[in-house]
């Protein structure tokens, strides 16, 4: 990181990637404790230095889920923090692609948008949006998609276009407009696996989405429950939802619904159920996730999101 004056060869730490290829080890930069302490002191940030906040958990769980060597198609917003964390830790060989036209950048500073010049640093080529969706995504180089969303239903269908709000005064429900698909529908349609980053709030996990913007799972909307191949989608069908309290994963055989795959804190199991709009089952491979290590936290705080653009958000639960 030339711009931050890190000219000495950084110490590397070997780690095992728990979701990637078994036995593959990657290594990542070790941040000096002094730098971490200075960071915490300078920003006036009131967090426990050694344990993760909810937002930090979400980014770290995402990075851990990304296999090294994946072609990562990254959506705008929070997913950029997830992909940058993965590039700096578990998946240094992942090829990042972004809809703005970027292929294979080495991101050093957190982009605030996929259209930020920070997202194109040292990329192999820049193309147009149609180049990217054509020669990369449709052609067959979007193995893992990372997305955000406003709603996620029982079958990992995502909504980022509009929701209905109830009038507290008892008036008729009103349609609230959200950001729209952007590249989300395209990524969910064309990637093998979709990782979704969302805070775990009940309003975000309804049984059925108000608008099915991006089909990330294997089934269509509740009621029709159509398999994705039956509507013509030839790729994908598995999704992993990394929230700030747990990881959900689609069941690939059978119903295709989301199941609880991992929990960060066993005291929060009830909270997961309380904040999910359907009766959530447990995966046969359910496990407690190892807490973030100090090394992960230091990289996340000192390199990935030093001004807490994404980490600073409060939860509404």
């Amino acid at each position: 990181l030339r711009s931050e004056g890190l000219t000495t060869t950084p110490r590397r730490l070997r780690v095992r990637n728990r979701y990637g290829e078994p036995g593959i080890e990657t290594e990542f930069t070790v941040i000096d404790d002094a730098r971490h302490e200075a960071y915490l002191a300078a920003g006036g940030i009131e967090i426990d230095p050694e344990s993760a906040t909810a937002a930090e958990w979400m980014v770290i769980a995402t990075a851990r889920a990304i296999p090294d060597g994946a072609f990562l198609f990254v959506g705008t917003g929070l997913p950029i923090a997830g992909c940058m964390m993965a590039q700096h830790t578990y998946a240094p060989n992942a090829v990042v692609v972004m809809e703005s036209g970027v292929v294979g950048p080495k991101i050093e500073h957190l982009p605030v948008s996929v259209g930020d010049a920070r997202a194109s640093f040292h990329c192999t080529t820049i193309g147009s949006i149609s180049d990217l969706f054509g020669s990369v995504a449709t052609r067959g180089y979007a193995t893992v998609g990372i997305l955000g969303g406003a709603e996620c239903d029982r079958y990992a269908n995502l909504n980022s276009l509009s929701v209905n709000s109830c009038d507290p005064a008892g008036g008729p429900p009103r349609k609230l407009r959200l950001a729209g698909s952007g590249g989300a529908n395209s990524i969910a349609s064309l990637a093998d696996v979709v990782i979704v980053m969302m805070p775990h709030e009940r309003r975000r996990f309804p049984e059925r989405c108000a608008h099915l913007t991006s089909p990330a799972g294997s089934r269509g909307r509740l009621g029709s429950c159509e398999e994705r191949s039956r509507v013509g989608l030839y790729r994908g069908g598995s999704a992993l939802i990394a929230t700030d309290i747990c990881v959900l994963r689609t069941e690939t055989e059978g119903t295709g619904e989301l199941l609880l795959e991992a929990l960060y804190d066993e005291r929060e199991e009830e909270e997961v159920y309380r904040n999910t709009g359907w009766v959530l089952g447990k995966s046969p491979t359910f496990h407690m996730m190892d807490p973030p290590t100090l090394e992960e936290l230091k990289i996340l705080r000192c390199i990935v999101d030093p001004t807490r653009i994404y980490l600073g958000r409060s939860r509404k639960r």
């Binding site: 036209g101 930020d116 194109s120 147009s128 407009r177 698909s181 529908n185």
Partner: protein
């Protein structure tokens, strides 16, 4: 009656066919080509290479009732919407990225019906539309949108689309007759990747449910591999920002992010390019492979250094983070107040030289207080990165 080829509609050269110089001021360009109701495609992506000089000139001239189309320039759309100038929108995304998940003025005006959403696509379909517009194709095939509610917003069949008069022409020349059309792939999915090579395909993707999708009967009521055809994007005017443009019109976007600028620029009836610098054509023609839009496609060239502010032009300057964080607080005020604010911020400046000298940085609540050229100088890009790595990007305290 002229011979074939004699009547030149557009040409390479310093002048347009009527003999007028292609180089104009932003004021002349907007007065000439952008009127109430015009369909304007906006280039740039996120906070990068937004054609802000022209956006501000539109606000100054108060050209209302615009029909705006873009897939990446949500921040520029927000500025126009907040000023009360957009009445129709054909787009994919209206967020201010990390700073405001949904751009507030756009959201409010869509919800209140001030802005009519004409069409709703995903970025793959939209960029394919732009590509079809660029190549003069009657449509472009995509494999996205299937199974989603985006396919149900077929605006002709569903709610919200303007009525089509009896003669079959749409109410606006830039509105296509149909949102999409689904066909069965005549080659039955042979080309979908990964392909069935005897030794396996080398492509990254592993899933291809070809046998199952061949049985799909959705949309066409018979088994077959579904392909979505989308209509071309044919805007009346495209406004884009490039780093440099030759004096005959050759465009070199340079660096950073391209978005769909080349596609919408070539697809449009009229292309207005604003740039950091106009250079002699010869400078660009020594390395034509780096140029992205041919000179004959360009109708108007507007030179305005730093005119992309408060967005970034990679290699030249970074975005003004403090402006956008301040603005994302400010646009929560009521509609009229936000509109008045835009007026005091932009509309009472004479031109962009005046704007940049007096307004850049003025509204920043979290910066160091530098205004005008001093602020712009603070944003200049680092040569290694093309942006400003040391740019402080704090979030406002909620």
């Amino acid at each position: 009656m002229s011979l074939r080829g004699e009547r030149k509609v557009r040409t390479i050269g310093v002048t347009d066919p009527s003999g007028r110089n292609k180089i104009m001021s932003a004021r002349e360009a907007v007065a000439e080509y952008i009127h109430a109701g015009t369909c304007v495609a906006i280039g740039g992506f996120g906070y990068t290479r937004l054609p802000m000089t022209l956006v501000r000139e539109i606000i100054r001239q108060n050209v209302s009732d615009l029909f705006v189309t873009t897939c990446g320039a949500a921040a520029a759309m927000e500025c126009l919407a907040a000023s009360g100038l957009i009445s129709r929108l054909d787009t994919t995304y209206i967020g201010l990225e990390g700073l405001q998940p949904v751009a507030n003025s756009l959201r409010r005006q869509i919800e209140d019906g001030d802005i009519e959403i004409i069409e709703e696509y995903d970025n793959c379909s939209y960029s394919a539309r732009a590509l079809a517009g660029r190549y003069g194709w009657p449509f472009a095939p995509v494999m996205t949108g299937l199974g989603s509610d985006l396919m149900e917003t077929d605006v002709l069949l569903g709610a919200g689309f303007p009525q089509r008069p009896e003669d079959g022409r749409c109410v606006h020349d830039s509105i296509p007759p149909q949102h999409h059309h689904v066909i069965d792939d005549p080659f039955n999915g042979w080309g979908l990747r990964p392909h069935e090579f005897r030794d396996g395909d080398t492509t990254g993707n592993e899933t291809n449910a070809l046998p199952e999708v061949r049985l799909s009967t959705r949309y066409t009521n018979r088994p077959g591999v579904k392909v979505v055809l989308v209509p071309p994007l044919i805007p009346e005017v495209a406004i884009i920002r490039a780093a440099v443009v030759g004096d005959e019109g050759t465009v070199r976007l340079e660096g950073g992010i391209w978005g769909a600028d080349n596609e919408i620029g070539i697809a449009a009836r009229i292309l207005i390019v604003e740039c950091e610098k106009i250079v002699p054509e010869a400078d660009l023609r020594y390395a034509p492979e780096a140029n992205t839009i041919a000179a004959h496609c360009v109708d108007v060239i507007v030179e305005q250094p730093f005119g992309g502010y408060p967005a970034a032009v990679p290699g030249y300057y970074d975005y003004d983070w403090d402006f956008w964080t301040s603005y994302s607080q400010l646009n929560r005020r009521n509609k009229e107040e936000v509109k008045r604010w835009w007026h005091s911020y932009v509309a009472d400046t004479e031109d962009d030289w005046h704007f940049l000298a007096t307004r850049a940085g003025r509204e920043n609540t979290s910066g160091h207080g530098s205004i005008g050229w001093e602020r712009l100088f603070e944003l200049r890009a680092d040569a290694t990165y093309g942006y400003r790595p040391q740019l402080s990007r704090p979030l406002p305290r909620a």
